[in-house]
Symmetry: C2
DNA sequence: CCCGGTTACGCTTGTCGTAAAGATT
DNA sequence: AATCTTTACGACAAGCGTAACCGGG
């Protein structure tokens, strides 16, 4: 089970073609064919149907394993290489949209930082692959509970902020004048689904119908959709309030009465933060105005 | 970063010797030396100091990655091979000691099952390596929260039981006559540390001093130690009560008043449970008397 | 008959073992 | 001096590419 074979296998499965995979990987079709044959011989199972090329049952299983496996492998490489590489002055920080808040902005030094915003589920992978030096992710969790992140690598995870939640909705919405709403009230609400912006439909939303799916990481657009009545979104309270007032009165932010659910932001750092990265990490964990708001 | 090289590397690091690793792996010392050299050239970093052989900083980092990586690799192999292998009638079930309860015993069919008890942290690895077909682990968690397990492979995880906790202590202990104790009361208690039996010292125990460390998976011995006053143990309530009464009055079980903390048991199954394993899994999740006690 | 995957075969490269050299206690 | 790692080198196998082959649309 050479990683090379595995990589070829996932490429073939993804592209549904031996020749396309060969082109992508810089091999000949023949080599790809041999790779798959070697894998199938090793595992004593047919992994792909040919013509059309599609994973068999066993192949599908292997695919589930292969992704995380290759990711971890890259992570290990990148991690050790990062140790050896001369620590450059620049730091690249990957962050999910809702992790970009006042706490982060206050902690950023004047120079030397690249900020890269991406969907939260891609942050760990970016860190693993060495594309960035630090990661900031956010998500919903119980107070002081860590987020449930895929463990792609031994990462140092630090909570850097927790904030209560609020619902963003149009000013004319029946709930808009309430002092607070409870999750029970929202059992069959219509939610906006915006996984790239860090607002996927979670178990907290119940068996909700999706109002609209938004693909992108732009919070302003998302808030505009919400205040225009295309669906509800659950946001950190400050963000919701800012969006409600910014929209020239078109929106309203209603606090969510769910004491066991908060918006949490976490800092992910590889075990070996280089000098500049370590300094930024320290400022993010300690110096942030988010910091001491750990309860409620 | 060939897995073979990685495997050699961890062996060398573990044994602190090239030659010993070579013997263990069936290579010559020369080959081992070449493996390490290849790794170091690839990662452009010295991974081991020679004489004495010890991991460098970079090597230590790589070691952190290598373990889970190799485990996942074995898991993938085992998983796919299991698919192809003719499903034998026998099922091997790996379980942590406290997961062996009435629920399990009731669900066991008359024949065809091998039960293997091991420390909870070794169950996922056993499943990954294909040494067993199903796993049962237990641990402390918030109600209806899943346990935090290392994700060695894409496993199907199902909660099969939650139970309140109780403290087992000698009959003469100051707490023995209380109706319940709270975690605050136990801030500086002396705890038994028995990680192999599934009772490691957790954050729930505060910054506790360890009374005695017990290595082994035998609950009876552990309960005897507790009732003899060698330290406190936190057990599922039924287990604690049974142990208290079994010890001919030497012990007492005091319910723990911590509504946010329960003893939870989970069933781990690979994605491809074979016929017999699937049947047992179904009986464990559905038929168990544990099953409907999900709250409190 | 064309497109795409497989098989045959030669060549290059890599990997292991033997054996000699080098280093460290 | 003894022990353990490294280096040199030869043998063998693995892996890739070229090219011929085959099977389905």
């Amino acid at each position: 089970m050479d990683p090379h074979l595995l990589r070829t296998f996932v490429a073939v499965a993804r592209l549904a073609s031996f020749s396309a995979a060969a082109r992508e990987l810089g091999y000949t079709q023949s080599a790809v064919s041999q790779h798959i044959a070697a894998l199938e011989a090793d595992l004593r199972a047919e992994l792909l149907t040919r013509r059309p090329v599609a994973p068999t049952h066993a192949g599908a299983r292997l695919l589930e394993h292969a992704g995380p496996l290759l990711l971890r492998l890259d992570a290990a490489r990148a991690d050790v290489l990062r140790l050896a590489a001369a620590p450059p002055g620049r730091v690249t920080l990957a962050a999910s949209p809702l992790a970009v808040g006042p706490g982060l902005l206050a902690a950023l030094p004047a120079t030397g930082v690249t900020l890269r915003v991406m969907p939260p589920d891609r942050v760990p992978a970016a860190l693993a692959a060495g594309d960035c030096d630090l990661g900031l992710v956010d998500g919903l969790a119980a107070p002081s509970d860590p987020l449930r992140l895929p463990d792609v690598a031994p990462l140092k995870i630090t909570g850097v902020g927790e904030e209560a939640l609020a619902l963003l909705l149009p000013a004319g919405h029946p709930f808009a004048r309430r002092a607070a709403v409870r999750l029970d009230d929202l059992a069959d609400a219509r939610w906006l689904d915006a996984p790239d912006a860090g607002l996927p439909l979670t178990p907290a939303h119940g068996s909700a119908r999706t109002a609209l799916r938004y693909e992108g990481t732009d919070l302003h657009a998302l808030c505009a959709l919400a205040t225009a009545g295309h669906g509800l979104v659950l946001l950190p309270r400050r963000v919701a309030e800012a969006a409600a007032s910014a929209g020239s009165g078109a929106g309203a932010a209603v606090p969510l009465d769910a004491p066991r659910l908060v918006h949490r932001t976490e800092l992910l750092a590889p075990g070996n933060p280089s000098g500049a990265a370590a300094a930024l990490a320290a400022r993010l964990t300690a110096g942030s105005p988010y910091d001491h708001r750990t309860e409620q």
